[in-house]
């Protein structure tokens, strides 16, 4: 059996899981609430923390698979993308679960602590991870509302939304460093480096919004990936997740293609033709 066939089956598994969302989400959310209530009521321990984290992570994973991965396939209508999207989703889920498992094992003293630079990176990421998770899930959650869904798809067809959005979050995280750690301002040149890198990320995000065409978004995407790496030189990696988001946003901008159907629809509108929100295109987003 080829990987494409395996990925296709896994994709069908994701879909059937998402189709049962009405049955799955209520108990998961209830288990999450109960887990956190028990954690704080019984006195916080490492075991109760993990009992609370487990349903939380499962809820967020299900939301990620349904709102981003499956929505992406549905929006394009191109089922040949299934193996690629499933592979990317599995890699993303494995990386997140792997990191959490390692952190968990480290706290239970099963795994050794990482080297110092990686420890700093993990500590920075842990502090902003809940905020970043919320920020990333809010647009697809809002976009899933049936009345807004066509506009949400149209938006992603016309603009490299994730490139712009993740670029702005990355810039926000980077520019927040002096607010979160004001003492950084006393280190010579630190403010200049932070403002410069945060500013460049804002400019790149604005460029993606102003020139949503394949050529410019490719060039800006490459620069955004490079700046995601450069953030480690003088801006604490944008508190780690700033760097990760800039790289993911840049990669998305690099591979984004406008959805021709939406562009045509928009161009025809002033002449009285075309209907908004049709999903005929198969542009890769």
């Amino acid at each position: 059996m080829t990987w494409d066939e395996v990925a296709g089956r896994i994709g069908m598994g994701f879909l059937s899981l998402w189709n049962r969302k009405r049955a799955l989400f209520p108990p998961l959310i209830a288990a999450t609430a109960l887990g956190w209530a028990l954690h704080y009521l019984l006195g916080p321990t490492l075991v109760t923390l993990h009992l609370a984290l487990l349903p939380t992570v499962l809820t967020l994973m299900l939301a990620f698979i349904g709102l981003i991965a499956i929505e992406h396939i549905e929006a394009t209508g191109d089922f040949s993308l299934v193996p690629t999207v499933v592979t990317q989703t599995l890699v993303a889920v494995s990386l997140v679960l792997g990191s959490l498992l390692y952190l968990s094992g480290m706290l239970f003293r099963v795994f050794p602590p990482p080297p110092l630079p990686l420890l700093f990176a993990l500590l920075f990421a842990m502090e902003v991870a809940p905020l970043v998770t919320l920020l990333v899930l809010i647009p697809p959650l809002v976009g899933y509302i049936p009345r807004i869904r066509p506009k949400w798809r149209e938006l992603r067809g016309r603009y490299p939304f994730w490139g712009i959005y993740l670029g702005f979050i990355s810039a926000f995280l980077t520019l927040c460093i002096p607010v979160a750690i004001p003492e950084m301002l006393m280190i010579s040149g630190a403010l200049f480096r932070i403002v410069l890198m945060g500013g460049v990320l804002i400019v790149l995000s604005v460029l993606l919004a102003v020139f949503p065409r394949e050529g410019p978004t490719k060039a800006v995407g490459v620069f955004m990936v490079l700046f995601g790496i450069l953030l480690w030189f003088g801006a604490s990696g944008g508190l780690t997740l700033g760097s990760v988001l800039a790289i993911l946003g840049g990669a998305h901008a690099y591979t984004w293609k406008p959805n021709r159907a939406h562009t045509r629809t928009a161009e025809q509108k002033p002449q009285g033709g075309g209907s908004s929100g049709s999903m005929g295109g198969v542009g890769k987003r």
Partner: protein, 170 residues
């Protein structure tokens, strides 16, 4: 090139950079918010400025601190940094020990700073307006058994040898 490849190259570059920094024993431009306990058996310092201050600055309830700015700090006998943090109510203590350490452009905000012995040269004491109070400058010196309860420390570079990290819970 697809999304996965571009993202993979970017993320792998960051991971490689962090691994390279770990292998080289160097940390670039980092800060560690407290509370921290820093113990240095022997600290060789140059370009020291010490003055009073408050932490966190601009807060409605700040605590008085000793601010120490050091151009270069050498710890030939190593140093131990202990940080206790609470994650979702669970107390986690990280102890970072190094056999040798070299730090540059260090900024430290400490509640207490004690040393059992040492020698300082080029010392100047100047009265200053609040919140500095008193400004002490030292061109170079050695402080033995330096212990500090630190609220915040940052440095431009940190080079180290013989790193040991221990994480304990509870």
């Amino acid at each position: 090139m697809g999304f996965g490849k571009v993202a993979g190259i970017g993320l792998a570059s960051v991971f490689a950079l962090l691994v390279a920094m770990s292998v080289a024993g160097v940390v670039l431009a980092n800060s560690i918010p407290g509370p921290l306990e820093v113990k240095i058996p022997e600290a060789d310092l140059t370009g020291v400025k010490m003055y009073g201050g408050s932490y966190p600055e601009g807060s409605s309830n700040p605590v008085p601190v000793v601010v120490q700015e050091v151009d270069s700090l050498s710890c030939p006998l190593g140093q131990t940094i202990t940080r206790t943090m609470t994650v979702a109510g669970v107390k986690i203590t990280a102890t970072i020990s190094m056999d040798k350490a070299e730090l540059s452009e260090v900024l430290m905000k400490a509640r207490t700073l004690t040393s059992s012995s040492g020698d300082l040269s080029g010392v100047t004491l100047e009265t200053q307006q609040e919140p500095l109070g008193l400004l002490q400058t030292v061109s170079s010196g050695t402080m033995n058994n330096l212990e500090a309860e630190v609220y915040f420390v940052s440095m431009t570079t940190l080079g180290y040898e013989g790193l040991g990290i221990e994480i304990t819970v509870g």
